[in-house]
Subunit: 365 residues, 3 copies
C-alpha cells in the first residue's frame, strides 16, 4: 500500500486560489506579502511545503512561523514579523477559527452529506415516521413509534421504539438510540455511541444483586456532539440530560440521571457517576472521574485525570486524586518531589537536636 494516497487524492481534487480563501474568511483577513500560485494542501508549520496553507494556532509554535515552507500562513493580528520571499501572511482575529472556516468548505466537498432517501436494506417498522428529507443508510433499523427528522443516518444505525431524532442531526455508523430517547436538532453522534443503555443500579437482596429497572430516558438537547463509543445511560426515572451546545469526546461514560448543563466540554474517557449535576460551561479534562450525587458549579474546570469526590464551586479549577484547588495541587506536586530530601534533612536535624524521645517509643509508621 502506497502511503500518501489521501494527500494526493486531496491535492488533485481541491485547490484554492487566494481570493477564494479570503472569501471563505468573510472579510476577517488582511494580507502581507505575496504568493501567486494556488493552495493545494494544508499542513503544520513544520511539515508544510511550497503550495501549502498553514496556521499559527497554539502560541507554542510561534517560533516556527519564520522558517516554515508554507506558501500562505494564517497568523494572529498581533504577529509582527514579516513573510519570507514569495510567502503570504494572512492576519486574522483567530487563525484557528479561520482555518476551520476553510476546512468547513473542504468538508462539504470531501465528506458530502449522503443523498436523501432510505436505503433498500434498511428496516423501518410500522408506525415509525421518517422525514422525506432524511438520509437512512444501509442496515439501519428504525423501531415502531420512532420519529426521525431531516437527519442523516449512516450505515448500521439503530433507533429504538418511540425514540426521536431531530432535524439536522448526523448519526455515524453503529450508533444506537434506545427506546424513548430524544435526540435534539443538529446533534452529531459519532460512531458506536450508545444513547439509552441501562443505568447501573442494583439492590442486594436475598443473597444476590437485584437489578433496579431503569425506566427513564436520555434527552440530548440541540447542538450536542457525542464522541465515538461514548455511552450515556437512561435514567432510573425521568431523564438523563445533556444541555444544548455541550460537546462530549470519545469513550465518555455518563451514568443514569446525570444532568450536564449547556456549553460544557467533556474530554475523552471521562466518567460521570449517577445523579451528578454539571452546571453550564463546565470543562472536564480527559480521564477525569466524578463521583455520584455531586454538583459542579458553572464554569468550573476539572483537570485531566482528576477524581472529584465532593462538590466543586462555580468558576473554580481543581486537580488531583482526590480533587483539590489546582494551585494547591501544583504546589504539592513540586513539594512531593522534595520528599526524599526532606526526610534526609529531617533525620539529620533530629540527630542534631539529640531528640530525647527514645527509639522504642517513637510512633510507628
Amino acid at each position: 500500500m502506497e502511503q500518501g494516497f489521501f494527500l494526493s487524492f486531496y491535492q488533485m481534487v481541491h485547490t484554492y486560489r487566494l481570493d477564494q480563501l479570503l472569501e471563505l474568511l468573510g472579510g476577517d483577513g488582511s494580507t502581507v506579502g505575496s504568493y501567486d500560485g494556488v493552495i493545494h494542501g494544508i499542513a503544520s508549520l513544520e511539515k508544510a511545503r511550497a503550495g501549502d496553507l498553514s496556521f499559527l494556532g497554539n502560541p507554542k509554535y510561534r517560533p516556527l512561523v519564520k522558517g516554515s515552507q508554507a506558501s500562505v500562513i494564517l497568523v494572529p493580528e498581533d504577529y509582527m514579523e514579516g513573510p519570507a520571499d514569495g510567502q503570504l501572511l494572512i492576519h486574522t482575529k483567530n487563525p484557528s477559527f479561520a482555518l476551520a472556516l476553510i476546512c468547513r468548505d473542504i468538508e462539504s466537498k470531501l465528506l458530502a452529506r449522503p443523498a436523501t432517501g432510505i436505503h433498500s436494506s434498511a428496516v423501518i417498522e410500522d408506525g415509525a415516521e421518517v422525514s422525506p428529507e432524511a438520509s437512512v443508510g444501509a442496515f439501519c433499523f428504525i423501531g415502531a413509534g420512532a420519529k426521525v427528522g431531516s437527519a442523516v443516518l449512516q450505515s448500521h444505525v439503530s433507533v429504538g421504539r418511540s425514540a426521536m431524532i431531530g432535524d439536522g442531526s448526523y448519526l455515524f455508523p453503529h450508533c444506537w438510540v434506545g427506546d424513548y430517547c430524544e435526540i435534539g436538532r443538529r446533534n452529531r453522534l459519532l460512531g458506536g455511541c450508545l444513547i439509552g443503555s441501562d443505568g447501573y443500579g442494583y439492590e442486594f437482596m436475598e443473597g444476590a444483586h437485584q437489578r433496579v429497572p431503569q425506566v427513564g430516558n436520555v434527552v440530548l438537547e440541540d447542538d450536542v456532539d457525542v464522541g465515538a463509543n461514548t455511552t450515556i445511560d437512561r435514567a432510573r426515572f425521568g431523564s438523563t440530560r445533556i444541555g444544548a451546545g455541550s460537546k462530549l469526546d470519545n469513550q465518555v461514560q455518563i451514568a443514569h440521571n446525570v444532568n450536564v448543563g449547556k456549553h460544557c466540554l467533556i474530554v475523552a474517557q471521562v466518567g460521570i457517576s449517577g445523579s451528578t449535576v454539571l452546571e453550564d460551561g463546565v470543562v472536564v479534562g480527559g480521564q477525569a472521574g466524578i463521583a455520584g450525587h455531586l454538583r459542579v458549579g458553572a464554569g468550573a474546570m476539572i483537570a485531566g485525570g482528576t477524581a472529584v469526590v465532593s462538590d466543586v464551586d462555580s468558576g473554580s479549577k481543581v486537580r488531583g486524586y482526590p480533587a483539590m484547588p489546582m494551585m494547591l495541587f501544583n504546589r504539592i506536586a513540586v513539594l512531593q518531589r522534595k520528599l526524599p530530601d526532606l526526610f534526609k534533612r529531617f533525620d539529620q536535624l533530629e540527630k542534631n537536636v539529640k531528640s530525647p524521645i527514645p527509639e522504642p517509643n517513637r510512633p510507628n509508621q
Copy 2:
C-alpha cells in the same frame, strides 16, 4: 424538538392507584397520611410535583422529604416525621428496592420483550440451533454451530460459530459474542459489548511483536450483566470467566484469563489485566485498574481510581495510586494538603536549630 415528550407520554399511559402500588410491594408497606388521586409520575424528592411518587433512598436527601411536593413518598421504617396535608408516606424496609419493584412493573409495559421469532433480515448459518422461543431482531447474524436458547437478540447482534446463548438472556444492539464463547442463563448484555475479542499477547522476536494466538474462550455464568461497550477478551487457552451474579458496568475491560468470582460489582471504566483473579463479592469502583497475575480476596473493596499492583486481602478496603489501605490513604490525603505548611515550618525550625550542616554538603533533592 419539544422537551418533555417522554414524560408526557409516560404520564398518559401509565398511572397507578395506591392499592396497585401497595400490591406491587407485596405486603412490605405501611402507610401514614392520605392521598386520594392516582400516581402518574416518578421524580426525585426535589423535583416531584403533585401526583408524583418519590422515595428516600440515599440518607443524604433525608432533609428533603419534608417540603417535597410528591403525593406519595417511600420512606424507611425508621423515618419518624409525619406527612404533609394530602400526602402519603409508605414505610418500607428498603425504599430503593420498593421503588425497583414498581419500576419492574413499568418496565414490563414500557420496554416489553419483543415478540418471539426470527426477523426476516437475520442471517442464520446452517448448523446453528435457535430456540423457537427466541426473539432474533433485524440484521442479527448467528454462525454455524451456535446454540441460542429462549433469549432476546435485539438488532445487529452477532453470535459467532459454536457460541452458546442461555435461556432468558437479553442482548442489546451491536453486541458480539465470539466463536466458542458461552453466555449463561438470564444474562443481560448491553449494547456494543464484545465478548471474546483477542487477548493482548505478544512476544518480541526477530525485531517485531509476534502475536500470541488466543485459542481459549469466554464463559459468562448465569445472571451476569455486562455494560455497554464493555470488552471481555478470550483466554490465551482455557477460559476467561465471569462468575454467577456478577454485574459489570459500561466500558469495563477484562483481559484474557481473568477470573471474576460470583456476585462481584465492577463499576464503569475499570480495567483488569491478564490472569488476575477476583474472588467472590469483590467491589471495584469506577476507573480503577488492576495489574495482571494478582489475586483480590473475597469481599475486598477497591475504591474508584485505585491502581492495584499487588494482591489484596479478603475483606480489605484499598485506595490510591498505588493502592494502600483506605484509612491510610485518607490520612495521607489530609497530610498532603499540609505539605506546604510543613516545608515552611521545617525551614524555620532548621534555621532555629542553627543546623551545623553547611549548605554545600546538604543532600541534593
Copy 3:
C-alpha cells in the same frame, strides 16, 4: 447451561502427539523425561491435569512446575529440575513463544479463516473495488471508491467511501473504517474499533463551541493491531498515523493528528491527546494518559495510570500523576506512607526545640 462445553469440544477435536508438538517448535526443543500419551488440552501449571500441556512463562510461577500434573511442560533452557515420573519437559529458548507456535496451529483449525467471497446480504456500492480473494461477511457495507484487498471482513463491518483495506488484514464484527482512511497490510482490527471518527476540536465563537471540521484521515501502516472498541480520530488535516508493527489494546483513544511510531505497545484504556508524537518502540501501560502536543522519545516506557504532561526523554521510564522518573516515583510512594509518622515526629521535635515562633504567626496551611 453446562460448563466446560468449550473444553470438551476442544479436547475431542484437537489432540497432538509429541512428535507433532516438536515439529511445530521447528527444532527449538530438547526433551527430558517421557510421556507416551497424546496431548488434549492446555492449562496453567496449577490447573493442568494428566494429558495437558503447560508452560513456564512468567518466572513468578517457577515453584509451580514441580508438582504440576501436566504431562508435558515447556520450560526455559536454564530450568534445571527434572520431570516427575511419566512427565516430559521440553527445554526451549522462550517457552511462551513456543506455546504461541502451538496455539497458532490450533487457531488455524478452531478459528479458521472464512471462505472467500461476498455474503449475499452485504452492500457494495458502485465504484468500490473488492479483491476476489477477500471474504466479506454478512451485513458488511463498502462505500463507493473504497478498495478492499485480500482481507477478511466479518459481519457488520462498515468501510467508508474511498477507504482502503490492505491485503491480509482481518476486521472483526462492528468495525468501522471511515471515509478516506487507509488500513495497511496484515492489520488486525478487533471488534467495534472505529478508525476515522471526527477529531475533537472546537473554537468558542459567538457564545457557542463551533465545531472545527476534521478533513484529514487515519493511516494505519502494515502489521498494526487495534483492540476492541478502540477509537482513532481522523486528523484535522493531514493524517493521524500508527506506525508499522504497533499494537494497540482495547478501549484505547487516539486523538487527531497523533503520530505513533513503529513497534509501539499501547495497553488498554490509554488516551493520547491531539498532535502528540510517540517515537518508535514506546510502551504505554494501561489507563495512562498523555496530554496534547508532546513528544515521547524512542523506547520510553510509561507506567500504567501515569499522566504525562510534558515531553518524555528517549529510553526513560516514567510513572505518576503527573509523570516523573519511575525511580523517584517509587521512592516517593514509600515515603508518602511515612507521612503520618513524619508529621508526628516533627510536632515532637518542634516542641523539644521550643521553637520561638509563637503559634499565631505560624504560616497557615
